[in-house]
């Protein structure tokens, strides 16, 4: 196994507040890895450090063997780092297929063309439709996002990121806000994702985490408390204490 994404001694401080405390983390190629922890543990901060939305106070981020700590979000995206957002971040006035097409066009490097009609780039649209079909969303392709059910919007969120053909995929609470009856659809989609993509999922829904992840890391107060297989995590007494004990009244 090779590491596709790695952090060494990653720290982030806002003034006196330490939100990432010396995190060493490794994501293997093709991994199904979950990051869990109580509210305010610094999970989203950690993701933002990985994507380059935040720059660390100390430590390094290594993507595919290359130190990307100083690289911008765009440069990391171009090197195969994709993410979904915890809160839907879609192009609400556009149709589902147009949402995906924008990302396909960026990846193919044709999005800056000034004069040729976009609709003549049929390969962009075809690829977007193909992707939607693989997610079972072909019927919704023409629907404008604002008129789409929330659970399906979460799938569009994933579709846009997949359109970028990432080697590493960071899923920030893919099932957040989705009615529990529909989470199985999200899980079906996650299960069907290409095996070679290394996936890090951040999720509160423990059923989903334990069914999906082969490996779990627990983050508490900005530091890794524990890492192991789902069985090891479930058996560890500290997990119950920190994760389930104090914060869940």
């Amino acid at each position: 196994m090779t590491a596709v994404l790695q952090t060494r001694g990653l720290c982030k401080r806002f003034g006196a507040l330490t939100v990432a405390d010396n995190i060493d983390f490794t994501l293997e190629a093709g991994a199904r890895h979950a990051l869990i922890g109580p509210n305010g543990a610094g999970k989203t901060t950690f993701v933002n450090l990985l994507t380059g939305r935040l720059s660390p106070s100390a430590g390094t981020v290594v993507l595919g063997g290359e130190d990307v700590t100083r690289l911008s979000q765009q440069e990391r995206i171009r090197r195969g780092l994709g993410r979904t957002f915890q809160i839907n971040s879609l192009f609400r006035g556009l149709s589902v297929v147009d949402n995906v097409s924008l990302a396909v066009a960026e990846r193919r490097g044709v999005s800056g063309r000034l004069f040729r009609p976009a609709s003549q780039l049929s390969e962009v649209r075809d690829e977007a439709m193909e992707l939607l079909r693989s997610l079972g969303m072909a019927d919704d392709a023409q629907v404008v996002i604002a008129n789409l059910a929330y659970g399906k919007q979460r799938l569009v969120e994933i579709a846009i990121t997949l359109a970028m053909k990432p080697r590493v995929l960071l899923l920030d609470e893919p099932a957040a806000g989705v009615p529990s009856l529909e989470t199985h659809r999200i899980l079906d989609v996650l299960d069907a994702l290409p095996a070679e993509i290394g996936i890090l999922i951040i999720e509160h829904d423990m059923d989903l985490v334990f069914r999906f992840a082969k490996r779990i890391t627990i983050l508490v107060n900005g530091a890794t408390l524990l890492e192991g297989t789902p069985e090891e995590i479930a058996a560890d007494p500290r997990v119950r204490e920190v994760y389930l004990g104090e914060r869940h009244e």
Partner: protein, 325 residues
């Protein structure tokens, strides 16, 4: 009716889209006594179109678009009055170049900001230019305006006549080119990515789009179009006044665009037509109170038709279709 650049929209020019041009040509023959107003309207349509590209498509809100309109007007005027260049094509070219450089230089700085900050900065740039034009009297004529502008016959054939016939055709032809270019841009992948930026700035960054460069390109193209409109005004009037750079000019323009409908291409056509004809008629009927009429028109639009006149038409069409079913 709403024209969103996208990967599914057909770029074919619909039958209805030829209507403005048919009207434009017909107006020349049917209303020969209104040609000077007609030319002014055509100029403002081009000006509004340039604004629609940034406000309606790229989502850059600006109150300083008069900077480019005025720069174009002065560039063409100064070239003729101070350097004796009377060739209209050359005047347009110099105005375009000046505005492209200005758009690039100011856009590179101010487009890093968003929202109210950006709004203030656009306002500041227009104010600075206005003050420069006011003070540099030896070049611009200052508050007296710039006169002594000569425009040679177009292609050496068509003289600028007293009745504004040549000016009208020139404006119509240039507007046609400006419309064609803008429409091409909006239907291109570039146009689609502008709409993406307008809809969700953060996500465009997250899918790897070079957002600042896209915005700067749009801003510069828009500046050039506004500059062409300004230069046309100079050629039509053969005079440039400070008011081309004023805040009122930018504000009035934004009002016209909102009146017609933002982000629809043809809102930029309908807005100036309705606004300027209403203004012309009201000013004749009530020379003292005409601005009250314009004010009422605006209140009605803001209260009942947020998406402008084209928005009303959209809704009426949807309603009749529903009933027909």
């Amino acid at each position: 009716m709403r024209h969103n650049g996208s990967y599914s929209a057909s770029p074919r020019i619909g039958l209805l889209e030829w209507l403005p041009w048919a009207i434009g040509v017909a107006a020349f023959f049917l209303m020969p006594e209104y040609l000077s107003l007609g030319a002014r309207i055509l100029i403002f349509i081009l000006y509004a179109l340039s604004l629609d590209l940034v406000v309606g498509y790229a989502g850059i809100v600006t109150l300083g678009h008069s900077a480019f309109f005025g720069l174009g007007a002065y560039a063409a005027g100064i070239l003729s009055a101070r350097f004796g260049v009377a060739d209209p094509a050359l005047q347009l070219l110099v105005a375009m170049t000046a505005c492209a450089l200005m758009g690039l230089a100011t856009g590179a700085v101010i487009l890093r900001t968003r929202g109210l900050t950006l709004l203030m900065l656009t306002l500041a740039i227009a104010s600075i230019l206005l003050e420069v034009a006011n003070k540099a009297t030896s070049i611009t004529g200052g508050a007296d305006g710039l006169s002594g502008i000569v425009v040679a016959p177009i292609l050496g054939l068509f003289r600028f006549d007293l009745f504004g016939k040549t000016a009208y055709w020139l404006c119509l032809a240039v507007l046609f080119v400006g419309w064609w270019v803008t429409r091409r841009l909006i239907y291109s992948p570039f146009g689609a990515s502008l709409v993406g930026i307008r809809e969700n700035h953060v996500r465009m960054v997250a899918i790897g789009s070079p957002v600042p460069r896209r915005l700067l390109t749009a801003y510069t193209i828009s500046a050039v179009l506004a500059g062409v409109a300004g230069a046309l005004l100079t050629q039509t009037n053969q005079f440039v006044g400070l008011n081309v750079l004023s805040f009122e000019s930018s504000g009035e323009l934004l009002v016209m665009l909102i009146l017609g409908g933002v982000g629809r291409i043809y809102g930029a056509f309908i807005g100036p037509v309705v606004y300027m004809i209403a203004q012309d008629m009201l000013a004749k009927q009530f020379p003292e109170y005409w601005s009250l009429g314009i004010g009422l028109l605006l209140v009605i639009i803001v209260l009942f038709a947020r998406d402008g006149i084209l928005g009303i038409i959209d809704r009426l069409v949807a309603l009749t279709r529903k009933e027909a079913r």
